[in-house]
């Protein structure tokens, strides 16, 4: 298990992490999301033992991260957002070198290297120099390198940034297969669809703070609850607006095309009562549903960029209040 408790880190006057708390269970596939500069890489580097917190604690399997315990280093595989390559080494030499860094030199290691290169599709190119590889191939090699010592925990910092769609898809498949093999995976990314497709858990960080964390289904359910209800009406909107005005749980109403979008603070039962009221008031309701949320809308909402999106989405808007 990886846990960060109230972690603070500053560089000069800039607070990179400001009381970050984060928990990753064994076997989880944890998506770490946040805007650029939110502190993702700093947090990841702390888990890898490359940075230390000014305050708080970072624990990996009950060992303090960065404590230089060989057992701990053996458990973590790290794929940074840059490949970290030696241009005049061949692929196979690069892999051999990192195997040596883990004190692995036997025949079993040679076989493992071949299997890993095969997994990432670079076995045929193993005698090529690293500077001949494109970004996608370098990232695949970086993944193979991180797995050389068969770590229990794999940490990937924006691994698919800058990759073409095909390579991104291949990379996602590889990560999904690794997750199936029982590894704990921490992946940071700005591609929210990728996170929602791959991960079991998610943490959203903004300005060095965790703003939301949990199982991905639970998080999406919460998003749905905060989304507007869309009411489609056949005919005039007048009676509907009158009925809505009478309900205290309706916070605001806006009009999009011929639909009403209402912000509603009630429970699911209150929602059905509202529908009942509309029907009883003679409003010809064609549709009544809550707008589906996605990770992107949640991300925008939590990181404070929701307002911009609203403006672009809604063609017409009418404030509604009882005065």
């Amino acid at each position: 298990m990886i846990s960060l408790e109230n972690v603070k880190k500053s560089y000069g006057h800039v607070n990179a992490l400001d009381g970050l708390t984060m928990h990753i269970e064994d076997g989880a596939m944890y998506g770490f999301v946040g805007p650029t500069g939110a502190g993702k890489t700093t947090a990841i580097q702390m888990v890898c033992g490359l940075e230390f917190p000014d305050e708080g604690s970072v624990m990996v399997d009950d060992m303090e991260a960065g404590s230089n315990v060989r057992r701990l280093k053996r458990r973590i595989g790290y794929v940074p957002d840059h490949t970290g390559s030696y241009p005049n080494l061949r692929i196979i030499e690069y892999m051999d070198f990192f195997a040596e860094c883990y004190d692995m030199r036997d025949q079993k290691t040679k076989r493992r290297i071949q299997n890993l290169l095969n997994m990432v599709g670079l076995q045929e190119r193993q005698t090529q120099f690293m500077d001949s590889l494109n970004r996608g191939a370098q990232q695949k090699l970086s993944l193979a390198r991180a797995l050389i010592h068969d770590p229990k925990i794999l940490i990937l910092d924006e691994p698919t940034a800058g990759l073409d769609p095909n390579t991104r898809f291949e990379f996602r498949q590889m990560i999904a297969n690794l997750a199936d093999s029982g590894k704990t995976i921490l992946i940071s990314s700005n591609v929210l669809n990728e996170i929602s497709e791959l991960c079991t858990d998610i943490g959203i960080i903004d300005q060095g703070n965790m703003v939301m964390e949990g199982k991905i289904e639970d998080v999406l359910d919460q998003v749905n609850a905060s989304n507007p209800i869309i009411i489609s009406i056949a005919g005039s909107l007048g009676p509907a607006l009158q009925a809505l005005r009478a309900d205290r749980m309706v916070r605001s109403v806006s009009i999009r095309n011929n639909d009403l979008l209402i912000t509603f603070s009630g429970s699911k039962k209150d929602e059905s009562n509202l529908l009942k009221k509309l029907v009883e008031a003679g409003v010809p309701v064609r549709g009544f549903h809550r707008e589906k949320g996605n990770l992107e809308s949640l991300f925008l909402q939590l990181t404070g960029t929701r307002e911009e999106r609203r403006v672009t989405y809604y063609e017409a808007e009418s404030d509604f209040s009882e005065g």
Binding site: G49, F52, D54, G66, Y78, T83, C101, Y102
Partner: protein
């Protein structure tokens, strides 16, 4: 026996670059030119005066030895000041630190890489220095002392290069600082030799003293490099 992986990796890289053969050619070429020119002037003088001055042969040795020391001092910062900063530039230093390698392994691997090049230069230049033996000249002890001084200088200058390389992000700045540090260190050493009487250092202690000081400083510089590249918890300033 397990060889340092950093050293092995750097050896593969350096074997593939033009730097090593160019360096060996330049150093030995310039030393050869120096020695041959000296021999030429000795023989020309002999043709004119009809005398062969054996002292002049010894002069060849001193000139070549001084030139070699100077070349080592000039080459080492260029060889080492990108050692750690290069890993940082390539973003590989972090990767190395996440492996089971100890930061000390990284520093010693870099030192071994630099020394392998410098010692290659020292030993390939031995035949040139051996010209002094044509007519006899120096004792085995003097030769041993000279080689030991070259090795000590190689270790010391490499340690300076590695240390500044671990502090500076740009290779140019690291190289400049390394040259300044080497210049200051050797000036102090020569001053200590010249003014040993005024400083009250007995003559039989000056040479061992210099060697001990250089080796001790080398270890200290390597220790500082190791400390600097090791991720560490920032010390809190005491309040009040």
């Amino acid at each position: 026996m397990r060889l340092n992986p950093i050293f092995l990796k750097d050896e593969i890289s350096s074997a593939r670059s033009f730097t090593l053969p160019v360096l060996v050619t330049l150093v030995n070429g310039s030393l050869s030119i120096l020695v041959l020119m000296n021999l030429f002037f000795i023989s020309r003088s002999a043709r004119i005066t009809g005398e062969i001055s054996y002292v002049n042969f010894l002069r060849i040795y001193y000139i070549a030895a001084a030139a070699e020391v100077l070349l080592i001092l000039l080459i080492t910062p260029a060889l080492t000041s990108a050692s750690v900063s290069g890993e940082r530039d390539r973003k590989t230093l972090g990767l190395l630190l996440t492996t089971q390698l100890d930061p000390w392994d990284i520093v010693t691997g870099k030192l071994m890489g630099a020394l392998s090049t410098l010692l290659l230069l020292v030993f390939t230049s031995m035949p040139i220095l051996a010209t002094v033996y044509i007519y006899g000249g120096i004792t085995w002890y003097q030769l041993f002392l000279f080689i030991f001084f070259l090795v000590t200088s190689s270790v010391f200058c490499s340690s300076i290069g590695i240390m500044v390389s671990s502090f500076f992000t740009t290779t140019a700045a690291a190289t400049a600082v390394a040259y300044v540090m080497i210049f200051v260190s050797y000036t102090v050493m020569f001053m200590a030799v010249i003014f040993r009487d005024q400083l009250g250092i007995p003559e039989n202690r000056i040479i061992p003293g210099i060697f001990i000081a250089f080796w001790a400083m080398s270890l200290f510089l390597l220790y500082i490099s190791k400390r600097h590249i090791t991720p560490h918890r920032r010390r809190k300033l005491r309040e009040g």
